[in-house]
Amino acid sequence: MIIPVRCFTCGKVIADKWDEFKKEVAKGENPSKVLDSLGIKRYCCRRMFLSNVELIEESLKFYVRPKEEGKT
């Protein structure tokens, strides 16, 4: 869905670093290097980034604004 607030396993806050990670990786940066630079060292936290899928963006598209729906 959306990036979890914390690493499931250790509890480190990771959600704040997702934007940066996504941006850098989209630029073609090596994900491992980005994670190192963001200070994500433990493999439990790293897997949170490496395996996240932004599914919320896919379901968001199905949101219909109330203006378009109901008022007919």
Binding site: I2, I3, R6, D19, F62, Y63
Partner: protein, 268 residues
Amino acid sequence: MDVKVLSNSDGQLKFVAKDADPTFMNAIRRIIMAEVAIPAIEKVYIAENTSVLYDDIIAHRLGLIPLKGGEILTLTEKCDCDKKGCPKCESILTLEVEAAEDNFLVYSGRMKAEGSVFPANNNIPIAEMNAGQKLTLEAHARLGLGKNHAKWQPVSACAVKYEPIIEIDSKKCDLCGACIEECPKKILKEKDNAIVVTSLWDCTLCKLCEEACPPAAIKISYDDRNSVLIVETTGSLTNDELVLAACDVMLQKCEELKSSIKSLPEAF
């Protein structure tokens, strides 16, 4: 007990305590994780939520946001409001957003602190919304203990590690360098015709060097009287504050024990 700080960087505090039993260090570790009170959002009143994330998910995400400024609150369990929540033990944060554009991220920084408690980190996305979606809520933060829910755990990683002992028998060693190659942490080096350890505390006790050494010149063991404690907070308290608070909790527990033993009848 001899304490020395090894490092205090990247949000991690590492310190060695020599002549401290590992079980004692573990007691501190466990108190840090489970018994130091920090604030976290406990109740969320959602007025409007038209985002795709359900109320449950949003409330859960809010709960995991580390908060600061809980020092003046009291633990709800110990508060005189009978666990109902009152201004003394609760602090309110509000959030009111309407997305103006598509793929709009609501960050924790958008939360308005009505009381003393505020998010320790302003860049945590709470939800992603499309234009027109709304999220209005009131969140009540309370102090709590890590043993009750992981959101009140003030640290992410917290670990105790024994002091490694690397013994190199220079008589047996033929300087083949196999151990240098083998060590994943790269802490062995050849210097002046001898194998030396560059950073002892990095040794993970993996014993690969031991296995790789044909003449069995290298021996790995540990000294459990000396151990290092690694603390990494989530942002509510700083590392130092946290360790001190943990010590306070421990002392308080000891005081309680002491006083209750004292109050026992003399016959004991």
